[in-house]
């Protein structure tokens, strides 16, 4: 079917923001990289590399070449801060070349390309909350149209207290659940709430070759979609995109036959901007495969009942709107179920 691709491998790293005084979660190093090599990289690049390498390893594609697409929103805020620390306090002669070169938007893509030896081409998209899914849809179309033999696509975001403070001033991510979101208590936390978080998620895509596995198809116009789905995963997250997201969901749910389960992944995963929709894709793939979610996955205690439902989900719809009203969507299915 046009635009449908096989998800050969995936890798995801996510963590809700560290509490004050708590160290940031350690990011697993990619294969073949030691900590000395990794120290040059900003946190965002480390997250991206860690997730990309996992996806590549799972796909069994070492030695193969691929097109590379990466999405992000705020970029390397840590290196940006470091560069400004020196620039503002001590002047340009103290500016850090590593913070500059390692902090540019395409640094994560360059790091992945160099580490995995990918040379077919690539680009970094900078966008808002739906940007990750936009990159996935672009990648899927390139593979499905045979423009690229395979594609490694993903997104990354590092947590920034500065950005959180800016958004808090605008009333976004207030650490209180807005009325339209079911927001369970986070483990170990004092109370319910939404948080900005960080993470990375990558998928290795190949042409649909009828092998058993999960398939992905981008949707041109999610508002007009009316196919059968078991689960809809929404990108609503307590932020400025929610108005557009809920409008989309209202229209979708009116069109969809049956009563699909509705999941708000960000209620537990937090808001990771460009990464959010791809973390939802990661979650969907694991549900479709019937996998147990790893214990470290923030959703683990909450989704176990869903994964144990008598009816194994076979189709999951991912939707994401951003703060400008742009929407992206895609459909996942397992094995040979046609979509």
């Amino acid at each position: 079917m046009a635009d449908r691709v096989l998800i050969r491998g995936l890798g995801a790293l996510c963590s809700v923001r560290p509490k004050p005084g708590e160290p940031a979660a350690k990011i697993p190093l990619p294969r073949g990289m030691n900590s000395r090599q990794a120290r040059r990289l900003c946190r965002q690049s480390k997250l991206a590399l860690g997730a990309a390498d996992r996806a590549w390893e799972e796909a069994g594609l070492d030695g193969q070449d691929a097109h590379l697409l990466l999405a992000l929103t705020h970029g390397s805020t840590s290196f940006l801060n470091e560069f400004h620390d020196y620039l503002v306090e001590y002047g340009p002669e103290a500016a850090s070349p590593n913070a500059f070169a390692g902090g540019v938007a395409n640094a994560p893509l360059a790091a992945i390309s160099a580490h995995l030896g990918l040379t077919l081409g690539g680009a970094t998209l900078v966008g808002y909350e739906a940007c990750g899914l936009e990159a996935l849809n672009m990648a899927a179309r390139r593979v499905a149209s045979a423009e690229a033999p395979r594609c490694l696509v993903g997104a990354c975001e590092e947590f920034s207290p500065l950005v959180q403070e800016v958004y808090a001033g605008a009333g976004w991510y207030p650490d209180r659940a807005p009325p339209h979101l079911p927001c369970p208590r986070l483990p170990g936390d004092g109370g319910p709430g939404l948080a900005m978080a960080e993470g990375a998620a990558f998928l290795a895509l190949e042409p649909d070759d009828r092998e058993p596995g999960v398939r992905y198809r981008p949707l041109d116009d999610p508002r007009a979609f009316s196919g059968e789905v078991d689960i809809v995963i929404s990108g609503a997250g307590g932020g400025p995109q929610d108005h557009h997201e809920l409008e989309l969901l209202q229209r979708l749910l009116a069109n969809l036959p049956g009563k699909p389960a509705l999941l708000f992944a960000k209620a537990a995963l937090g808001e990771t901007f460009a990464v959010g929709s791809l973390l939802s894709v990661d979650l969907a793939v694991r549900l479709l495969r019937g996998e147990d979610l790893p214990p470290a996955h923030p959703l683990h205690p909450r989704l176990a009942p869903l994964a144990g439902e008598p009816r194994q989900p076979s189709r999951v719809l991912i939707v994401a709107a951003d703060r400008t009203g742009a929407v992206q969507a895609g459909l996942l299915s397992f094995d040979h179920h046609p979509i």
């Binding site: 040059r40 590379l68 929103t73 705020h74 970029g75 940006l80 801060n81 560069f83 400004h84 620039l87 503002v88 306090e89 002047g91 340009p92 002669e93 500016a95 850090s96 070349p97 500059f100 070169a101 390692g102 540019v104 938007a105 395409n106 640094a107 893509l109 360059a110 790091a111 390309s113 160099a114 995995l116 030896g117 990918l118 040379t119 077919l120 081409g121 690539g122 680009a123 970094t124 998209l125 900078v126 966008g127 808002y128 940007c131 936009e134 672009m138 179309r141 390139r142 149209s145 423009e147 500065l162 950005v163 403070e165 800016v166 001033g169 605008a170 041109d220 116009d221 400008t324 742009a326």
Partner: protein
Amino acid sequence: MKNAGVDSAVVVTGVGVISALGRGYGRHVEAVRNAESGLVSLNLFNGTPPDPVLCGRVPGDILNPDLEATASHRATSLLNMALADALADAGLAGDAAVEADLLVGTTLGNMHGGTLYHRQLRSGGEPDPGLVRDFLPCAPAHSAAREAGLTGSVRTVASACGSASAAIGQALRRLRQGRAKRVVAGGFEALSPYCVAGFASLKLIASGPCRPLDAGRDGLNPGEAAALLVLETEDEARRRGARPLGRLSGYGEALEAYHQTRADPDGAGVAAALGRCLAMADAAPEQVSCLHLHGTATRANDISEHAACRAVWGEDLASLPVCSTKPMTGHTFGAAGALGAIFSLITLDQGVAPGTLNLTDPDPALAGFNAAAGPREIPAPEHVASVALGFGGESYALCLSRAKREGGHG
């Protein structure tokens, strides 16, 4: 709605360009013929090194020259102006809503606004959060699209100095696949102390006017610009009676997987990008009439491009006129690829290749490059290619080809 038109030919129907040379396609044609440079000496750090820095700043009669006063919106302003000019040039101005996507590249957006925020934060004052929200590289494109009444999708690409080329390439894909009938594509970049300090920290700022391909070259001059092409399918252009300025016939991209910042001295990425570009354009290397190099005048960049061109053209390289326009405009980073495409259009349209200014002592290590300090006539150009390279080995090539039309662009 998906439009019909798989593999449609794509033409350029409008241009909007603002750089250190001034505003408008005609201004840039004039600058090419007169071998002008728009570089000016600026003190960006209160006179401390690397000041003074030769920069390609947009003239003060077009945009307030004060970087501090325009910090929060300089990039957005440049993009807004170029977009208005491009739409007007394409005969699309005056419509309340314009059916077009906007696909642009940039590296730093309104970065100086971000620097102001950090200064405010460190001075103990109350920093303006709007500076952080507006400095995201994707913010100017959304703002500009709203301002211009564009109804299509908006996308920002940040592939370092190849950003604009990548954006144009993605636009070409969308149009050829029938996913859009019109895309305004290109790039924009505003001067910022952050950017200049960054390149200075890498020892890549030239001590004077940059000298691409010259034995005495020692780095780049930072610049700012906004450069946009209105791209449409040939059918759509014909339907509304638009005059094509040229055909966007080819695009190629590659990654070098070599180093975080330095180009591969063997030029493997650029060679691959050029090969893919010319294959798409269905143009053999010997059919290329002129090549616009990335030509930043850093030691490594020019060596890498030379190696790539030798790989693609072999001994025929000496017959191919090449040029770099960085001494005219400065290196405009996120806009560079689109500026290169517009200079390629000028070559195609006017039959003149820009001079590589300040080239007085060609580097023997770059033997075979057919470059000249002054502008040269290019008789009956059919295909003109341009190259852009970014940090991390991102390599891009574009090919513009003659469109079937009469007369030139005013």
